[in-house]
């Protein structure tokens, strides 16, 4: 069935690395501001105000276009896209267009993704520079049941890149991986911090079993993209199975309820009345500028994956997953340098950490704060010294990410409080069982304990901490003694 699914994405990414908005001097960091305090006559669209392009946005867009192998236009042309909506101060958006002799900043290009070992190339159709809108807030959290709506224009005018793909994605999972990869490319380029709330949003076009395509709007993260598409595939297949008709429509993803719902307002495509913005003359994009930016491009995820696989010996697939998240990859490299064992670290990060971060509903940065290099290395050390089993290690990672608890704190509560004996305790018990005489000697004479410690050290091939072994044996002996 999945082979019948075609998905294309329209991704909106805020250029969060800019200091100011796209056409005025208001700050790019608006998230902490009280509503409507990060505004000026320009981004509020007051009568008589005029936009002045933040030229740094061109450099950022060119870097992205180069990273996606897109062809870059020799000039930047802005158009006005008209629609009435309360979050749009001028009731038109300054954007770009690809008809009537107009051109977006870049067209074409591609992104390669590796989905569970399967390689795919996703073609890029075009990249636009445009301005973000404000935000509508409802006193009752949703439009339903709210008597009024509030509008906050702090976000209005933030520079956005709109990146549109061809319908090359075949599964919700591929779509998620693509979006993660794109986010990672943008982070490696230092164009955007996609972990910021609302910094990367996607609209998805999905067509199932050759039926008309349905657009899903308002998707805020790669994880939600996968969820929304899974929901939509199931919904549409159900309709197809029961002989129903799928209409071409726009639906909205309702994150809280995990469903998509049909838009109440019909979106009239082709009624945007695009025309060149007379306030913004064309800006030439010189070859020299493009070449200079190309020369200073940083290491991008694909190159980084190749390097990591080689340098740390973690395997191509692991490397390709690590580079989907720049911060995760940085964390991997830092931690591997500090405490060695890159294979174990990559396995912990990919197989355990990511899962619990998802489960906790936190972003990777917050996850990393909870499983810092310090904590991660401590766990690796415990494991290597035989203090904990691989099973317990995983359990520690789970607790660290979900509950933000330091592993040392966990250990000080006693190793078995977690409902499992440690590897080391298991070994101690083994040695005690195998040496009943030495146990009896040791209960009488504490000095005789050294023999037992030596036996345990032998079993761990010297990896265990002798002091710790000593402690455990003494604890066990006192338990025997009291019986």
């Amino acid at each position: 069935m999945d082979s019948d699914v075609l998905i294309g994405l329209e991704v909106h990414v805020q250029i969060t690395s800019l200091k100011t908005k796209l056409f005025c001097r208001c700050s790019c960091s608006y998230r902490e501001n009280p509503p409507n305090t990060n505004v000026c006559p320009i981004c509020l669209g007051l009568p008589g105000s005029l936009p002045v392009l933040n030229k740094r946005a061109i450099e950022k867009a060119v870097a992205v276009a180069l990273a996606l192998n897109s062809s870059i236009s020799d000039k930047l042309l802005f158009v006005r896209k008209h629609y009435f909506y309360p979050d749009l101060p001028k009731n038109y958006q300054i954007s770009q267009y690809d008809r009537y002799g107009l051109t977006p900043i870049a067209t074409g290009g591609s992104v390669a993704i590796d989905v569970d070992g399967l390689n795919r190339v996703v073609r890029i159709r075009r990249i636009n520079i445009e301005e973000d809108a404000g935000r509508i807030a409802y006193p009752e959290k949703s439009i339903l049941g709210s008597r009024y709506a509030l509008v906050d224009y702090n976000r209005a005018g933030i520079a956005l890149l709109e990146i549109v793909t061809e319908p090359d994605l075949r599964t919700p999972r591929e779509a998620r991986v693509f979006l993660e990869k794109l986010g990672s490319i943008l982070e490696h380029l230092e164009v955007a911090d996609t972990s910021l709330e609302g910094a990367m949003r996607a609209d998805a076009n999905i067509s199932v079993a050759g039926r008309p395509r349905v657009e899903i709007k308002n998707i805020g993260s790669p994880k939600d993209l996968e969820k929304a598409l899974n929901y939509e595939v199931a919904r549409q297949l159900n309709i197809v199975k029961s002989g129903g008709v799928i209409e071409r429509e726009t639906r909205h993803w309702i994150k809280e309820r995990g469903i998509t719902v049909a838009s109440r307002v019909k979106e009239l495509e082709g009624e945007y009345r695009y025309f060149p913005d007379p306030d913004l003359p064309p800006v030439p994009i010189g070859r020299e500028l493009i070449e200079a930016i190309a020369r200073s491009l940083p290491e991008l995820p694909d190159q980084r994956a190749r390097r990591i696989a080689k340098e740390y010996g973690v395997g191509d697939y692991m490397a390709s997953v690590l580079v989907l998240h720049k911060k995760l990859c940085d964390h991997f490299e830092n931690s591997s340098k500090v405490c060695g064992n890159p294979r174990l670290i990559s396995s912990i990060l990919i197989n355990e950490f990511l899962r619990w971060v998802d489960e906790a509903g936190i972003d990777i940065s917050s996850g990393i704060a909870r499983l810092s290099t310090d904590r991660l290395c401590k766990l690796v050390q415990y494991f290597e010294s035989g203090l904990i089993s691989i099973k317990l290690l995983k359990e520690y990672v789970r607790i660290a990410v979900l509950e933000d608890i330091n592993p040392e704190e966990l250990r000080s509560k006693g190793l078995t409080t977690l409902g499992e004996e440690s590897e080391l305790e298991r070994l101690v018990d083994e040695v005690l069982r195998e040496n009943p005489k030495a146990v009896a000697d040791s209960i009488r004479d504490p000095k005789a304990v050294n023999f037992l410690v030596g036996q345990v050290m032998k079993k761990t091939r010297g990896r265990a901490d002798p002091k710790l072994v000593n402690e455990i044996i003494k604890r066990r002996l006192s338990e025997y003694g009291s019986k």
């Binding site: 008589g48 009731n91 009537y100 009624e271 009345r273 007379p278 306030d279």
Partner: protein, 483 residues
């Protein structure tokens, strides 16, 4: 010649004002009182102003200028500002109910330059709503009357700015010109009005009508006053991306009553043939004689493309207007009409239906139409092509000639209510002025004489940035005319 509302004292020029103030420091205050006397006597009939500042505020401003020695080039001149140019703290209505109570939080660049050069804003002048009209009868508040004949219109859309100056209710004024809105009222009220090269004066703060056509320009009772104000308001402004990066000349030095070169001027036959009033033609011909006596060579040429300039102009102006006026929805500022329905679109609809006048709605509808999918190429794109051709024709023409001459208006000032009933007749008043805006050229209207006691304006236009020579030729006409 001045209308009966003026006295010798109230009609004083900026230069004389500056000189007299140097001799007598109280002169400026006596002058302000004289102007307010004229206002007191005539303003109730003429209605040049929408908002007039109280004399006490104006005197405070002047005292401040005197105290800080900042009388500057404008010497305390009282500047009437068209009500579509933003003034901080003074309401800016655009002659519309929609903005009846809108008070801008910022000054237009032209206004701040006036203030910084010793000018004092005396009030905001009446205009056709959003500058759409040629008679000032489209003001949502009241029409302004022609000081030469109270039964006639003063022209528009900067009718209030023209009458304030003509009737000596201000020293000079600022108007805006999208298709003739400075020149036509200047011609009908017997004053001088200059529409600068597109980009010479910043549009920042001018409430946009047709952004690619709009220019702010000076209006005054003599060529010299206009040159002095042009000096102040022209020059590059980083807040307007269409502002030209040119070093501004001192335009005053062109205001001499001898020719600064052996001028070759051209008369385009299309501008003096169809529908031109004989009485207007008589004055125009006598002006050509005046110039011939000053060694100016006059030749006649044809430019058939001019036949297309009116439809081209109206397509472009209305398309841009429909976009520029989209922002007036009553949500963020301006008048809001509460609607019966629950949806925000209902509120928008009601606000825009009741807030805009008929002519504004007509132009928004026509503009929306020509930008619609399927019609765009036939209207807007075609108009843009004609505009480019027109630009090329003028470029060729001005390789041979220094300037061109025409009557500013084909007729004498229409009677009240005469033109406004027929949109086509109304639009054709602009027949000689719109081609200049389409090509972005500078033009000046200077009084050429009187017919039946009514002023007749002569338009002089030239290649981009030829304001200096236009002022010189205007000065030759001013000092050479008999009436």
């Amino acid at each position: 010649m001045l209308p009966p509302q003026c006295t010798q004292f109230s009609s004083i020029s900026i230069k004389t004002l500056r000189e007299r103030v140097r001799e007598d420091s109280d002169f400026l205050f006596k002058y302000v009182e004289e102007v307010y006397r004229a206002i007191e006597r005539y303003e109730q009939r003429l209605r040049a102003y929408i908002t007039l500042r109280p004399i006490s505020e104006v005197i405070d401003d002047i005292e401040n200028l005197v105290k800080h020695g900042k009388l500057g080039p404008l010497g305390g001149a009282l500047v009437a500002v068209k009500d579509n140019i933003s003034t901080k703290g003074i309401r800016t209505t655009c002659g519309s109910k929609m903005l009846e109570n809108y008070v801008p939080p910022y000054d237009a660049t032209a206004v701040s330059r006036i203030k910084n050069s010793g000018g004092v804003v005396i009030g905001k002048t009446n205009m056709d709503e959003f500058a759409m009209g040629s008679t000032t009868e489209n003001s949502a508040f009241y029409p302004t009357l022609n000081p030469w004949d109270y039964g006639r219109v003063p022209g528009g859309s900067s009718g209030g700015s023209a009458v304030a100056v003509a009737a000596c209710e201000a020293t000079v004024s600022l108007g805006s010109d999208t298709g003739g809105s400075i020149r036509l009222p200047a011609a009908y009220t017997g004053i001088v009005g200059l529409k600068p090269t597109y980009g010479l004066v910043s549009r920042y703060g001018l409430v946009a009508y047709g952004s690619s056509l709009d220019q702010i320009g000076p209006m005054g009772r003599c060529v010299e006053d206009v040159a002095i104000v042009l000096n102040v308001i022209s020059g590059h402004d980083p807040r307007d991306s269409t502002s030209l990066r040119v070093n501004v000349e001192n335009f005053e030095k062109y205001v001499v009553d001898y020719p600064l070169k052996r001028y070759r001027v051209v008369v385009l036959e299309e501008m003096v043939s169809e529908g031109i009033d004989e009485k207007v033609m008589k004055i125009f011909n006598s002006t050509l004689d005046v110039l011939a006596k000053r060694d100016v060579t006059v030749e006649f040429r044809k430019m058939p493309l001019l036949h297309y300039s009116l439809p081209t102009y109206y397509i472009i102006a209305m398309a841009e207007a429909s976009s520029n006026l989209a922002r007036f929805d009553g949500l963020r500022y301006g008048t809001r009409s509460e609607a019966e329905g629950k949806l925000w679109v209902d509120a928008y609809r009601k606000t825009r239906m009741t807030g805009f006048g008929e002519e504004v709605k007509r132009r928004i509808l026509l503009g929306t139409y020509v930008l619609s999918e399927g019609l765009y190429e036939g209207y807007y794109l075609k108009a843009a092509k004609v505009r480019r051709l027109l630009h090329q024709e003028f470029t060729k023409l001005f390789r041979e000639y220094d300037a061109a001459l025409s009557p500013t208006s084909p007729t004498l000032p229409p009677r009240l209510g005469e033109a406004i009933v027929d949109p086509i007749k109304l639009y054709s008043l602009d027949i000689n002025t719109v081609p200049i805006n389409l090509a972005g050229l500078p033009a000046i209207s200077v009084p050429g004489g009187f017919a039946e006691g009514l002023p007749v304006g002569i338009q002089i236009f030239g290649p981009p940035l030829s304001e200096g020579f236009l002022l010189n030729i205007a000065k030759l006409i001013e000092s050479g005319r008999s009436g």
